[in-house]
Amino acid sequence: MNSSPPNRLRLKSVILCLLVIHAISGIAQSPASYVFWKDDENLRRKYYDESLRKNSLFISNAPKQYAKDYKEIYDHQFDEIGDFWNSKRAVTSPAVNDYLQSIVKKIIDANPVLQNTDARIVFTRDDWPNAVSLGDGSIAINGGLFIFLNNEAELAFVICHELSHYYLDHTNKEIKKIVDLYNSEEFTTEVKRISKQQYGARTQFDELMKKMAFGSRRHSRENEAEADKQAFLFLKNTGYDCNGIISCLQLLNNIDDSSIYKPFIPEATFNFTDYPFKKKWTEKESVLFGRLITDETSPLSIHEKDSLKTHPDCAMRISLLRDSIKKISAGKKFLFDENFFNQLKQDFFPEMTEQQFRDDNVARNLYYSLLMLQNGSYTSLAIYSVARDLNILFQRQKDHKLGHMEKETRTYAADYNLLLRMIDRWRLDEIASINYYFCRQYEKQMGGYISFKEEQAKAVKNFTLVQNK
């Protein structure tokens, strides 16, 4: 969100996975297929309506001066929030939501100042490790973060942290600061002056923007530290182990380099007796600026980059709270249901995987499905998903509609980049052949899986088509 920056617990890019053995839900077909969580649509609509009401309230209560600016920002904020509640990203499935709400209730009950909060806290099927307070009481805890948490105490800290942002009204305060700054005489005069410059206008404008960005980021970091401190105050009253704060922050510090599943090995999955793996699908090529260090790609200096961070360093955050935490008597890591917590962690993976498919991110869906398959988790679902994705890739490539597919990016996990490289290099006949032999390899195992049979039939048709071309 541009105008009202969300208060993130930790925004890190990469997505990772968990070690899973069994699905939580029922068995519908033979072989066993995973049954996805069924969301409570009424609850989702209720949350949407509450956000809409909150948006009207924000606009009507905004300072009269610059009312138009506030309206624009709040409307933009609601665009994001409305989209969120209208999507399938929010998990409102009763069993999952009830579990989350029991922890939320524990926090609220333990902290009288939160008694009247109207916060709407949900898990999401988003796969990046993050949690966010959207500013109007909507709080999202991504599955991509939850799968890395070790216990309820860590989850409770995440909830406390986001609740603190809302309790401390950080988003609205930031909005006010931005509106005041943009309308300040100092700023408008400076913009006017720069726009009249015949020479060097862009450089001066960039400097001004950079200065503003630094200021904004500094406030964000201060907000994060303040939210941590408040979260500690909330958590210590709940009976949860406050060491969960430290372990959670340590976990966040390394989350970019963490992985629970073993990396995807292309030649292990796409190597068939009648259609062997081709090295050229993944072979490395010479690249421009091969020795360029990622950090040097940014024109910003180290000091500048540090100044642009929205969150303080995790080690710094831990050091600010460590002494206070030491003084607290030991709490519990779990107050509700450890088994359910662990099962939930496992089930989030297929849920996030399928969300990628709903969001039309076929490459991610394929990647997660391949990870599940390779690691023996939710195997039937994974096999079906892989076949389905390869058929989609075939059709899109045939129709020249693969153009907007994700491409290799240095910040992505190496094994995901390898898959993207393969997709990029596969020719139409190769996709058809791979899926044909892939389906043939698993046809016995997938005997009763009707959806798989349908995908296999498509794969055979595509294979025949390219063979006859």
Partner: protein, 514 residues
């Protein structure tokens, strides 16, 4: 097919496109000066966008050279100040280092900037100052060439060592060419410009093998000479000194078009051949020739496939190389795949009567338009085995394209007109050929114009080879965008740039060809 009109529209479109303001990242608004693919040989390794990011003073601009990888991910922003008259003409990548050719139109200077694998500019640049004569000559040749076909583009990579530049040149009264070598290992440069024994020289870079730069040279005794000598020139990569200069006469007169190092480690020259006393500039070729050659210029073996004896098994072709309905073949490229098979890529053209020229002649007598015009016809792919025997020939239909010629062209030979269509009229539809690293796959790309029930507009077409199998495909290039441009991408892909005027947005996305 009204290709000229289409090309004209496209070129005009791109000029306008580049003159438009374009928003990139955090830059307020910028004016794009040039953009192109960065290649290592035929392999696209990235893209650059060069724009004026700020005005520093009356004479100076701040420029940003934004470099992306071949997935269009940003790699580096190079920001520098220079004269307001600077533009980037070319780039090339040699597997390690990157070179840009900057041209200052007012000062008449070329500057070659080299960037290392660490993304940093090398502590040296290479400069060339043009005389007025040179500038005028380049304006009619190198600088006049469109970006689209890159006819005169001539910066060739030498693996990890440096770059070879081939550019038309003027030396006193001679019209010649200049070969430069720019080292990327350390500051080292040499220049070679042939002037002896002729008044006009045309040089084609053939390739690099075992420390020697191979060039095919046509030497004309005078500016009006129609019967040039042909010779292969070998230059030492380290010193630029001549290693050999051998006429291209073997069993036949040979006109090599490219050099490839084959799987057996030997270098081979491919091209068309003529009678021993034939005229390369005027006569029709007799077929294709293949010479094995070493770094000393010694020809180790010769092999010829004639239209009359060999190609006629696969095509209805006359002994002079005229193919029914197709006309004569203009050879665009020859390459060898990893299994040793050789493919020649050509395009058909033939002389036909020009109604416009005839009418103009009747009406005005001196119209400036020839009574003949050239009809550019179909694409052709000829297949040879590793022993250079013809194995197949296939014609790929496309809509024909007429090019009106200047008055006097009636008296020119068909091969010479073919060269003019290529270099002067920019009239062929062929765009480029790309191969992958091990040459197990290649793609030939060309444009076309389609007018049928479902679609009327430009198309971008491909003939693709992958592990012995050939497929064809096309993309429709007409879209909702105000203007669009197709740049080469990784093998089998193209980068489609689309400009949406209303949204002031430049969209770039890849499309894969099947």
């Amino acid at each position: 097919m009204k290709k000229l009109l289409f090309m004209g529209c496209l070129l005009f479109g791109m000029q306008v496109l580049f003159a438009q303001s374009l928003s990139i990242d955090n830059v307020k608004t910028v004016v794009l000066r040039s953009s192109d693919a960065i290649k290592e040989g035929t392999d696209v390794k990235g893209y650059y966008f060069f724009y004026v990011s700020d005005k520093v003073d009356r004479k100076t601009n701040e420029y940003t050279l934004k470099i992306f990888d071949n997935n269009l991910k940003p790699l580096k922003d190079i920001v520098f100040q220079d004269s307001k008259d600077v533009n980037i003409l070319e780039s090339s990548f040699n597997g390690t280092d990157l070179i840009f050719l900057l041209y200052n139109e007012k000062e008449k200077t070329f500057e070659y900037q080299v960037y290392g694998a660490d993304g940093n500019k090398k502590p040296y640049s290479y400069f060339r100052e043009l005389t007025k004569k040179e500038k005028r000559y380049l304006e009619t040749t190198y600088l006049a060439a469109s970006d689209e076909d890159q006819t005169y583009k001539g910066l060739y990579p030498v693996d990890g060592k440096g770059f070879i530049s081939n550019m038309p040149s003027r030396e006193d009264r001679d019209y010649t060419f200049q070969i430069d070598y720019f080292s990327s290992e350390k500051k080292k440069q040499w220049t070679y410009t042939p002037t002896e024994g002729g008044k006009r020289f045309i040089g084609d870079y053939l390739g690099y093998f075992n420390g020697v730069v191979f060039l095919e040279v046509l030497r004309f005794g005078s500016l009006f000479d129609q019967s040039p000598d042909s010779y292969i020139l070998g230059l030492d990569i380290e010193t630029g000194k001549k290693v050999f200069e051998n006429p291209t006469d073997g069993k036949f007169r040979f006109y090599p078009a490219s050099l490839s190092v084959m799987n057996n480690g030997k270098a081979y020259l491919y091209g068309e051949f003529f009678d021993l006393n034939g005229n390369i500039a005027k006569d029709k070729s007799k077929g294709f020739g293949f010479w094995a050659i070493d770094e000393k210029g010694k020809v180790q073996s010769e092999k010829y496939c004639s239209w009359e004896m060999d190609m006629s098994k696969f095509l209805n072709v006359s002994s002079k190389g005229k193919i029914d309905d197709f006309g004569f073949m203009y050879l665009h490229n020859i390459l060898q795949t990893s299994d040793g098979t050789i493919y020649a890529v050509g395009e058909g053209y033939k002389k036909v009567a020009s109604a416009l020229g005839i009418a103009a002649k009747v009406l005005t007598r001196n119209s400036g338009v020839s009574t003949l015009k050239i009809k550019v016809t179909d694409m052709i792919l000829l297949k040879f085995d590793k022993d250079f025997n013809v194995k197949d020939a296939k014609i790929y239909d496309k809509n024909s394209n007429s090019i009106e010629l200047q008055a006097g062209s009636e008296f020119m030979s068909t091969p010479l007109i073919g060269k003019m269509v290529k270099y002067y009229y920019d009239g062929f539809d062929y765009a480029y050929t790309q191969t992958n690293q091990d040459v197990s796959a290649f793609t030939v790309c060309y444009s076309d114009y389609v007018k049928d029930k479902d679609y009327k507009g430009g198309t971008f077409n491909s003939i693709s080879y992958n592990e012995g199998k050939i497929t064809t495909d096309h993309l429709n290039t007409k879209s909702n965008a105000t203007r669009s441009k197709v740049l080469p991408g990784k093998l089998g892909q193209v980068l489609v740039l689309e400009y949406f005027k209303k949204e002031k947005k430049l969209d770039a996305h890849f499309e894969k060809l099947n």
